[in-house]
């Protein structure tokens, strides 16, 4: 028997797990939305609202184009780099459009996340991507002058040196 406001209550830790976000990031989203719960619990409806309003997206779905590109590449790190760029393009993240940085990791397993993190570092280092802080966390965007270069990575045509080192060493 469902009890209103009781059965579907989740702790912030449980809600974070359900949303695939670190609790500290969830808290920043909640504070930015003016929805931080004093009892540190959210119900299912609130969790869904946070997912939508907070822009918490899961990009690496089995049927996503980025996932398909990732799986098609015989070299795992290169596949993740290409798939990640496909995801960024698919989501239209050319500056000034941006999205939460952690969206890039959601749906990847632990090993793939570690590689994706290294890919991101390389792309930020090369200036292809730009990260910046927002009230609800860190966002990422493709630097406007590097849209073509990100496309080339996605298609596997050209890779900046710092990125290629990830699978050539």
């Amino acid at each position: 028997m469902p009890l209103p406001g009781l059965d579907d209550r989740m702790t912030l830790s449980e809600a974070s797990l359900a949303l695939g976000v670190h609790p500290f990031d969830l808290i920043r989203v909640l504070v930015a939305l003016g929805a931080f719960p004093p009892d540190l619990h959210l119900n299912a409806e609130e969790v869904e609202r946070v997912r939508t309003l907070g822009g918490l997206e899961r990009w690496w779905e089995p049927d996503s184009q980025g996932e398909a590109v990732r799986r098609s590449d015989p070299i795992a790190a290169r596949g993740i780099a290409r798939g990640l760029c496909v995801q960024l393009i698919e989501h239209g993240l050319l500056d000034p459009t941006s999205a939460r940085l952690d969206n890039i990791f959601r749906g990847l397993d632990a090993d793939a996340q570690a590689i994706a993190r290294a890919v991101l570092h390389a792309l930020v280092q090369e200036g292809y991507l730009r990260t910046f802080n927002t009230p609800s966390g860190v966002n990422v965007t493709i630097a406007s002058q590097h849209g073509e270069n990100v496309l080339k990575i996605a298609s596997g045509d050209a890779f900046p040196r710092a990125l290629a080192l990830l699978w050539q060493r």
Binding site: P4, S13, H22, D102, R117, T131, F132, N133
Partner: protein, 357 residues
């Protein structure tokens, strides 16, 4: 003229030449004088030796006094550092103490919650109560139709619903955990806050919590206890503080401070509105007032402001081992790091229920 005068007025004959007598006298005098002088010289030499020895002793004491004065002056000069070091050690001890307290109270609260759940389960065995609960749960649908009903019906339905609510309230209170409250003594727990630098435009605000730094990576492997409650509330307060300072987009990071969790707001290069300490104290105070779970555990949060130097004290060569080197390193990194504002990539695994499974 003496009676010895000769008749012819001449001096009487002496038994030995006068000069000899004189010389003999002189020799005797000389001998006496020499003995006296030798005796005096010996005495003076002895005195001289005594004085020299005394001087040596005084000189030695002078050196000792000079050394002690120098040491005392050095101690005096080192009092600031010593004070910082002792304050830092006290800070670490207090964090460890408060962490133990939070863990102990978390355990006690968990037991009380389990007991409340058991009581609720016992109550829920009552079929009649279950019927009331079903009715109570379905009231939302009824409520939507109330407006269309005549006032008399509406009043009757609402009165009935109030009765049902009174009946089910005890079990709801158990399920919500409203009955959970420790009878343990009131326990203060400190949050340590610090602004860097102490004077001038603030560059960073740090809040140290008595929560294990491991929470950052193990939050999904443990229940949300009082330690998590403190950490989550501090993070929420930090976000609120940044927003109220007009720096909502300032980097806010949870980082290890030794084995404890610290939350820091990097304000560098951001013009802030208002007084950082005032705004932070108010936000943390609000967080404390909202924390019913901590009240139920008889835990009260206190906010203590310390100079940033206490968080990263000078190195102490004399008292090795008294300060956890890792802690010190972390503190220094935390306060002094220039690169943190560029460290924007998350350094944790994004939890995902699907991939976790």
């Amino acid at each position: 003229m003496s009676d010895d005068s000769t008749r012819d007025g001449l001096a009487p004959e002496m038994e030995s030449p006068a000069l000899l007598d004189a010389l003999t006298g002189i020799a005797a005098w000389r001998e006496r004088a020499e003995q006296e002088a030798n005796a005096a010289v010996s005495e003076l030499r002895a005195e001289e030796a005594r004085i020299t020895a005394a001087l040596g002793e005084l000189q030695r004491r002078l050196v000792l006094v000079e050394e002690r004065r120098a040491q005392t002056e050095a101690k005096l000069n080192a009092l600031d550092d010593e004070e910082l070091l002792r304050s830092h050690q006290a800070l670490l001890t207090a964090l460890a103490h408060d962490q133990s307290l939070l863990l102990a109270r978390s355990g006690a609260i968990a037991s009380l919650r389990a007991a409340a759940k058991q009581r609720a389960e016992v109550l829920l065995r009552d079929d009649e109560l279950q019927g009331h609960l079903r009715e109570f749960a379905s009231f939302a649908e009824v409520e939507a139709t109330l407006k269309s009903l005549p006032p008399g019906y509406r009043r009757a339905i609402l009165a009935h619903h109030d009765n049902v609510r009174r009946v089910v309230e005890p079990v709801l209170r158990e399920l919500r955990g409203d009955t959970v409250a420790l009878t343990a003594p009131h326990a203060p727990v400190a949050l340590i806050a610090s602004v860097e630098p102490s004077e001038g435009p603030p560059q960073a605000l740090v809040i140290l919590t008595p929560v294990s730094a491991d929470l950052q990576t193990t939050w999904d492997q443990q229940p949300q206890d009082l330690c998590a409650s403190v950490a989550y509330r501090v993070m929420a307060a930090a976000a609120e503080i940044a927003a109220r300072l007009g720096a909502a987009d300032a980097p806010i990071q949870a980082r290890p401070y030794g084995r404890f969790l610290a939350v820091q707001i990097w304000l560098r290069d951001r013009p802030v509105k208002g007084d950082v300490k005032e705004i932070a104290t108010a936000a943390l105070q609000r967080a404390k007032e909202q924390a019913r779970d901590l009240s139920a555990a008889q835990v009260e949060l206190f906010i203590l402001w310390l100079p940033a130097a206490v968080l990263s004290p000078p190195e102490d060569d004399e008292d090795e081992g008294s300060v956890d080197e890792d802690t010190e390193d972390e503190a220094l990194r935390m306060i002094a790091s220039e690169s943190v504002s560029d460290d924007r990539l998350p350094d944790f695994l994004i939890a995902d229920p699907d991939t976790e499974a």
